[in-house]
């Protein structure tokens, strides 16, 4: 059984169309495809001609760029998580908070379900996404099929919308405004890494070209049939 990888179906309207090989993406025009290339980046976006869904987004050196952004993201993540991001000072009492302390307080106040939601969306899933993507991309970079990469990538793509660290940054900014009238607010070191992390994660998700990974993982049947032939 062979699988066709030169054709792709749009995920939003099921229309069949050509899946251009990575080398063709550098060309300015691609037949029926709508290719938008911003002048100030090397990014290329391919849209479905019928419904406008983004079929593929790629960049020059997509793999290297994404690995670099992810390593930067991991470092910033640990700074953002381990240091307090805000401190409050009023009437001689100071109180500081880190990401985890809010979750612990919710858990202690019999709000375990809400604590679990915050824990999963702000702490566990962003870390999981970064580590698994690094594992997958390094596997491609080293040209070695590490165990479970293709299945892991499928799960990572599925869980990615549930990691919401950039929403947490907006929440920090809103709380700052909310509390300025009540007490003195002191921004902590983690706040700056939160801001940087939001941009780094956005850059990583823009530079990642899923099809670089999918082209690397060959379908299993094709591998076995190729082995069977002399």
């Amino acid at each position: 059984m062979t699988h066709i990888t030169s054709i792709i179906a749009c995920h939003d309207c099921d229309l069949l169309q050509k899946n251009p090989p990575p080398s063709a993406l550098c060309l300015p025009s691609l037949g029926s495809h709508t290719v938008t290339s911003a002048r100030w980046t090397t990014a290329v976006v391919i849209e479905c001609p019928r419904c406008g869904a983004i079929l593929r987004r790629t960049q020059k050196n997509s793999l290297d760029r994404t690995i670099a952004w992810l390593i930067a993201g991991l470092i910033l993540y640990f700074v953002a998580v381990s240091f307090p991001f805000l401190a409050l000072q009023s009437h001689g009492i100071a109180n500081e908070t880190a990401l985890i302390s809010g979750i612990i307080i919710l858990y202690k106040h019999k709000m375990a379900s809400m604590a679990a939601v915050v824990l999963a969306t702000c702490l566990i899933l962003p870390l999981y996404t970064m580590i698994s993507l690094l594992y997958i991309l390094l596997s491609i970079k080293l040209n070695r099929y590490l165990p479970g990469v293709s299945r892991l990538f499928a799960w990572t793509l599925r869980l990615r919308p549930w990691g919401m660290m950039e929403v947490y940054l907006l929440a920090i900014l809103i709380s700052m405004v909310k509390l300025t009238k009540l007490a003195r607010i002191i921004p902590g070191p983690a706040l700056y890494s939160f801001i940087a992390l939001t941009f780094v994660l956005a850059a990583a998700s823009i530079s990642l070209d899923n099809h670089v990974a999918w082209d690397f993982f060959k379908p299993r049947q094709v591998l076995t049939s190729a082995k069977g032939k002399p």
Binding site: L15, L86, E96, H109, S175
Partner: protein, 208 residues
């Protein structure tokens, strides 16, 4: 009359929902040979699941907005309950109208908009409308994209609860509304995830 455009379904193929590998129709409901995701031509029971989650969201919308999300205790005043709307009004009255706008849009407008849009899309499919498929697909994409930002109020409560612990001077606790609100956001996100925009286009092809 134009010939219908060639889709994966009409060509007898299934596109893998995760890795977009094209498989023959015979491989339906078996794991994808490339990524292991179950192969389905369309999302499983998309309409039923989406209806159920949208109705659940409509029910959760009431306690999420009517019950207090924070309970503030200060030395000078008796315990004071805040709902999402009273927070918006507070910000508007104290002059921070931009923050009031962000909270209003993220916490009140977006969840309601998502539910109304999804209801509209579901109705359009059930009643077999052939009206503006491109715009309806865009509407779905917007619904899917903005939903996550509703989570902001849940996080604000988490931050306030841990930060405002000033002994007897001031204290903020999370109220029951916060739990309903986080459940609401998750329900609407799951509802958007279970909707299949390809059904909009299927209907267009069936009529041609």
């Amino acid at each position: 009359m134009t010939t219908p455009p060639l889709t994966a379904r009409t060509a007898g193929l299934i596109s893998c929902p995760r890795c977009h590998l094209l498989n023959p129709v015979a491989a339906e409901s078996t794991p994808c040979p490339r990524c292991g995701t179950e192969l389905l031509s369309r999302k499983a029971n998309s309409l039923t699941r989406c209806w159920a989650l949208v109705i659940a969201s409509f029910i959760l919308y009431l306690p999420a907005n009517l019950l207090p999300i924070t309970i503030t205790t200060t030395i000078a005043h008796p315990p004071h309950c805040d709902t999402i709307m009273s927070g918006v009004i507070y910000f508007f009255q104290t002059g921070s109208w931009h923050i009031a706008l962000i909270i209003f849009v993220a916490s009140i407008f977006v969840p309601l908009m998502k539910m109304v849009f999804l209801t509209f899309l579901l109705l359009s499919l059930q009643l077999g409308w052939r009206w503006r498929p491109l715009e309806r697909t865009r509407l779905y994409r917007i619904t899917e994209m903005v939903g996550r930002w509703s989570m902001v109020d849940v996080y604000v409560v988490t931050i306030l609860v841990s930060l405002v612990k000033l002994g007897s001077w001031a204290n903020i606790d999370a109220g029951p509304g916060a739990i309903y609100f986080s459940a609401l956001v998750i329900m609407t996100m799951m509802a958007a995830e279970s909707f299949d925009p390809r059904l909009i286009w299927d209907q267009m092809e069936e009529c041609q």
